[in-house]
């Protein structure tokens, strides 16, 4: 299996009245063919902007990709013409958005919104496109797809809309799906169904997937590898198994302690991470997490640690005190 997508030193900024927000700050990550990678972090850490940058859909003119490369199948997407990029969107890389209630056009039928991708990328039309659309709806578990095609988004529940978004993403059989918190807007039982569906379909169709979430519980179950993001940077990366068993960044540790875990006794108290994420317009020179960190040492405020290998293969962390975390499992 080869590299499908490689993001190198990607930097995306927003010009706001309060100054320049560097939402994604020199971030590198990759996705192998057929693999599911997670991007995890608190609200506002730059997850959505990372995915939108890959699609080159960052809201202009405020938002701008100021540096880096997004190499997809050997081509740097950031260098493509707008027309060539358009052919990538939906065809090679599809995106599922965070808000199923507002991400579908209220005045167009489900069928119309499903078939237009097929028409534009695969040259399908008429009955052929409709048959394929119905097949897609069936595939994502929407009963009576023929009739559903003639309906409008407001006649769909939140869960069904998210299924519809998945169907739309799968329509042209892309090789990569960027799923931006595909379940946050849904209630818990539906969340599980949707995630199972995504996992199942991606595995069956061999689609690689970037799953964006702030829920480490989701990650454990569905991702092969995990990138933990904080204040626009990746602070830790590793296989899901490794990260769970042996987190080497205090932020990852904090995230783990803030979600319920089935492998621990029920009485274990959940501990939210103290404090607030930093203001992205004026980041401290050192580690952005330092002000909230229990392992903080003098060096943290002055120097920013780079991602460096620790422990097992492919496990990296950006923490001066990573060694201390490894030696003190009792801290957990």
């Amino acid at each position: 299996m080869g590299v499908l997508l490689e993001v190198r030193s990607l930097t995306t900024e927003f010009a706001t009245s309060g100054g320049v927000v560097r939402a994604v700050d020199g971030v590198s990550w990759d996705v192998q063919e057929g693999e599911t990678v997670a991007l995890v972090g608190e609200s506002g850490c730059g997850k959505s902007v990372s995915a939108l940058s890959v699609m080159r859909l960052v809201a202009a003119p405020a938002g701008r990709i100021v540096g880096g490369q997004v190499v997809f199948k050997g081509r740097d997407l950031l260098q493509l013409s707008e027309e060539d990029m358009r052919r990538v969107r939906g065809r090679e890389i599809a995106m599922i958005f965070q808000e199923p209630m507002t991400s579908l056009n209220p005045v167009l039928t489900i069928g119309r919104q499903l078939t237009e991708g097929l028409e534009i990328h695969l040259g399908m039309s008429g009955a052929g496109a409709r048959a394929r659309a119905a097949e897609l709806l069936g595939m994502v578990g929407i009963p009576d797809p023929e009739r559903r095609l003639t309906q409008y988004p407001h006649q769909f529940s939140g869960g069904m809309r998210q299924r519809m978004m998945i169907a739309m993403a799968l329509a042209c059989e892309p090789s990569l799906i960027l799923a931006d918190e595909p379940t946050t807007a849904l209630d818990v039982t539906i969340q599980a169904q949707i995630l199972e569906l995504l996992k199942d379909l991606s595995r069956r169709l061999g689609v690689a997937m970037l799953i964006i979430t702030h829920n480490l519980g989701v990650v454990a179950r569905y991702a092969d590898r995990v990138n933990v993001m904080y204040a626009g940077r990746i602070v830790e990366r590793g296989s899901a198994r490794e990260l769970y068993a042996n987190p080497r960044h205090p932020y990852t540790l904090g995230l783990l302690k803030s979600v319920p875990r089935l492998d621990e006794p029920r009485r274990a108290r959940l501990q939210p991470i103290e404090g607030q994420p930093p203001d992205l317009t004026r980041l401290p020179p050192g580690c952005a997490f330092a002000p909230r960190c229990a392992f903080r040492v003098a060096r943290c405020a002055a120097e920013r640690p780079a991602l460096a290998p620790v422990g097992g293969a492919g496990h990296l962390t950006a923490c001066w005190e990573a060694g201390r975390l490894d030696r003190a499992p009792a801290l957990r």
């Binding site: 939906g90 005045v107 409008y152 739309m168």
Partner: protein
Amino acid sequence: MSKYLLKRFLLMFPTLLGVAVVIFVLIRVIPGDVVELRMSGDRGSASQQAIDEERVRFGLDQPVWKQFATWVWGVVRLDFGTSMWTGAPIGEEIKLRFALSMQVAIMATIVAVLLAIPLGVVAALKQDTWVDYAVRIFSIAGLATPSFWLGIVFILLLLIVFKWLPPMVYTPFWVNPWQNLLQLVWPALAVGYRYSAVATRMTRSAMLEVLREDYIRTARAKGLVQKLVLSRHALKNAMLPVMTVIGLEFAFLLGGLVVTEQVFNLNGLGLLFVQAVAHRDYTLIQALVMIVSGFFILVNFVMDVMYAWLDPRIRYR
């Protein structure tokens, strides 16, 4: 679908009846009636007896509810009676003027739509560039310029630059279309420009709002060409508020162009309205109010239909 529209449709009738009651009572509350006005014109004051006789002739001595019932029964059969001032049948008085006013209103609306939608869309797409500023200046100027003044400028320019004056006598379209258009295109442009200003601003802001919507991003993420994103996904949503502005303005134009009609020497409904009020010509005022407001209500209903057509959330309510 039909339930919502049926409700809207049925609602038109009580609304019209309400209008009828209000106008009928209001003009009778204003002091001075048509008989007094006419009689006092005959040098000195007429005898009370003559005035009373005239009132009887017009049925003004009857109790108000009875007058009302008689009138409404007439209106239902589309018989508006005769003018109390000229004695001519009102249907005849109004027919040509209605055609003229309606034509100016329709032409002005076409001018406005043809200007407003492209300009508004382009301004939104080029937000904060010189294109946007140019469109905004153009539309603010439109709002600040009275139509009649623009009309005068048109006439003067035609006269001075081309040594030509548009025809000043109305020719119905079905008699001589070319002659008709030569006359009416100028008032339509003068009125349409101002009208387009309102609609341009509405189009621009609605478009800006829609372009920020999540579903537009979804459409882009699907790899649609920009043209499709705009025409299929954005425009249809942005048209909802624009349509409201256009519809209301269109309905207003039918009876609201008093000064502009005067500038272009047009015998439209606006001018007739002013004369009818000056003469306290009850029957004519009533007829005009019913026609203009009936048209207003009808346009509103048509807009409801179009809303339902554009927006499935309404259609399925």
